[in-house]
């Protein structure tokens, strides 16, 4: 009796869901205010118009300096998506660490995004001051300061996350500056101000990018926003940075021109709105 009942339940659910699917297929553009889906964001790191491969000395900056990269890591947080009608959907308390050596980290997913047509994406490069000052128990996942291994994404002598880290080698670097011609550019600095401390340099940067095609979130569409991230902009942004001169950056004030540069390195290349 029970079995028969649950069986019929199952059948009716199946029928209902079939009905539902065929229904929503027909009304592609209708936005169901109750439906949500996820949005994936893919960070494809490049150097100019070349694929970024760590260790390959195939790149050259505007100063004509050849270089190879050995590390590229950065935090992304405080993502927001803006609908075409201007309403903004925020994703607070979600932090992502994009690491060149870990392809999984380059695809991040926002869950429970309301249906709608999204035209812009905003995010912060780094970890905001609130989280930078939060108790250790709240620092989980990519914010766990003991989780970085050799990546070392935390300044332990000046409590704060390293928002952005790029390292490599260049034959343009004088061996007097670095015997192995290595460079290390670390950007952090959330603005200080704890326990009555003075305000210090703030290198948090927020970018807003418009999408060439809207991301159309539906019950059956989980868009993927594909970003191109051009590491060459770290040197060739609004500020021109020469590795011969600037090859060791480990303090917030010196890092500000770099932060202003990498703010320009993101662009939305395309959006996938494939049906599931």
């Amino acid at each position: 009796m029970r079995l028969a009942y649950s069986y019929s339940c199952l059948v009716s659910t199946l029928v209902a869901s079939l009905l539902f699917i065929s229904c929503s297929k027909e009304t592609d553009d209708a936005i169901d205010p109750n439906a949500t889906n996820s949005v994936a964001i893919e960070f494809e790191n490049r150097v100019g118009d070349q694929k970024l491969v760590l260790g390959t000395p195939a790149y050259k900056n505007a100063a004509g300096e050849p270089f190879a990269l050995t590390k590229l890591n950065y935090f992304i947080s405080n993502i927001a998506l803006r609908k075409e009608d201007g309403t903004v959907q925020q994703f607070p308390n979600q932090y992502f660490l994009i690491r060149q050596t870990d392809s999984q980290s380059q695809l991040i997913t926002l869950k429970d995004v309301p249906s709608g047509n999204y035209s812009d994406i905003t995010f912060t490069i780094g970890v905001d001051s609130v989280k930078s000052l939060s108790p250790v128990a709240e620092r989980v996942g990519v914010l766990d300061i003991t989780s970085y291994g050799d990546d070392g994404m935390y300044w332990n002598w000046n409590s704060g996350y390293i928002f952005f880290k790029i390292e490599g080698t260049s034959t343009a670097i004088p061996t007097t500056a670095n015997a192995n011609q290595q460079f290390g550019i670390h950007v952090g600095g959330y603005g200080g101000g704890w326990n009555g401390s003075p305000k210090t340099v703030n290198n948090l940067r927020t970018v807003t990018l418009s999408m060439p095609t809207k991301a159309t979130v539906r019950s059956n569409i989980a868009p993927t926003v594909h970003l191109l991230v051009d590491a060459l902009k770290v040197f060739d942004g609004p500020n021109k940075i020469s590795l011969a001169k600037t090859n060791s950056v480990h303090m917030p004030a010196a890092a500000t021109p770099v932060a202003d540069n990498y703010k320009t390195m993101f662009q939305v290349d395309h959006v996938h709105n494939d049906k599931q």
Binding site: V136, S147, N156, S159
Partner: protein, 362 residues
């Protein structure tokens, strides 16, 4: 022997805690099934003459099991790359948990740093850590020495992995946190729980303030206290003997030319400012200053009386025409005053703290 009896009398409360603690040790080690003592489990106790602590105790209140775990970690070389350097290497209880006889600290492979180790005491009352205040939360301190290439030269990620693999630690984490999961936040909180219990508030001076037995100060010491209040307490203020601020006390700029606070804030007005240190147990924490340049309290007082330099950001109190109407930078001190101040400073030695069995290497 009489000394021992005196010690027992004075330390009955602490002794009870120790006995409880030892019971717990046995419990952890021997898996006994007897119910633990029903006494409140509060290894952190605020001395009556201290202000309220600033550490967020509600987020990480020390328990006996947490403190025991923290102590085990504090004394364990497993926190360093090659297993040779524990926190205690540079923070030795006998000297109020500082590195004795080293002006600047010696770490792994006998590498030397640029700063003098600091005593670890009354950390629950500190708002910023290190000579330059670079770390704003006690829980965030340990990764600095662990990951410093001249101190312990290890990644904290690897420390957590080593702890997970060791047979010793999972049961200790279980006792402290309820499950045997070992993770970064728990590791850091346990170390804090131990460090928070390092409270020094039973010096002869404290007993005098609290009018407790044994709390006597000689005339010389009382004269020293009066002189100290007039000449030093503008910075070394209150019962912790620091106002937790950063100031330039006019040392010659020498050696590594450490810019102190400016290293962290990158602000010109912070150059050569260092944390005003507490003076508790000062008799035991030599050498003195951020780079350990003075080997005696005499040398310190000679500095204040004769050698204060008008360097950038010299504290207004110490400038010509400052708090003492002085005709040149520094603090006018007679030789009597110097002697009396030193006599007073020695009353801040807390033998009970320096020998407390709860803090000894397990």
């Amino acid at each position: 022997m009489a000394g021992l009896r005196y010690w027992f009398m004075k330390n009955w409360i602490d002794l009870r805690a120790t006995i409880r603690l030892t019971g717990l040790c046995l419990l952890v080690a021997g898996c006994q099934t007897t119910a633990p003592d029903a006494q409140p489990d509060e290894p952190f106790v605020k001395p009556a003459n201290f202000p309220e602590p600033v550490y967020a105790l509600d987020k990480n209140r020390p328990t006996t099991a947490g403190m025991l775990l923290g102590r085990a970690l504090f004394y364990d070389g497993i926190l360093s790359r090659d297993g040779t350097i524990s926190c205690a290497e540079c923070h030795n209880q006998t000297y109020a948990f500082t590195h004795h006889q080293h002006d600047v600290s010696h770490g792994i492979d006998n590498k030397v740093g640029t700063r003098n180790s600091m005593p670890l005491q009354n950390l629950a009352w500190e708002t910023n850590f290190f000579w330059d205040g670079g770390v704003h939360d006690l829980d965030l301190v340990p990764i600095a020495p662990i990951e410093n290439p001249v101190e312990m030269d290890e990644t904290s990620t690897n420390v957590i992995q080593k702890l997970r693999k060791s047979p010793k630690y999972p049961p200790l984490f279980k006792a402290a946190f309820g499950t045997d999961e070992i993770n970064g936040p728990r590791f850091l909180q346990a170390l804090s729980q131990f460090m928070l219990t390092l409270v020094s508030g039973n010096s002869r001076y404290d007993k005098w303030v609290r009018k407790e037995p044994g709390g006597t100060l000689t005339d010389e010491e009382q004269a020293g206290l009066t002189a100290f209040r007039a000449k030093c307490s503008g910075c070394h203020a209150g019962e912790l003997f620091t106002d937790n601020s950063f100031r330039n006390n006019g040392l010659f700029i020498q050696g590594s030319r450490d810019e102190g606070r400016a290293h962290v804030t990158e602000l010109a007005q912070d150059r050569y400012k260092f944390k005003v240190p507490s003076l508790r147990n000062i008799e035991k924490t030599l050498p003195y200053m951020h780079d350990g340049r003075f080997y005696s309290l005499d040398a310190v007082l000679t500095h204040y009386a004769d050698n204060v330099q008008p360097t950038d950001n010299l504290d207004p109190i110490l400038q010509t025409g400052g708090s003492f109407g002085q005709s040149r930078p520094g603090i006018p001190l007679t030789s009597d005053e110097k002697r009396q101040i030193i006599a007073f400073l020695k009353t801040l030695t807390d033998d009970q703290f320096l020998r407390d069995p709860r803090f000894v290497e397990p």
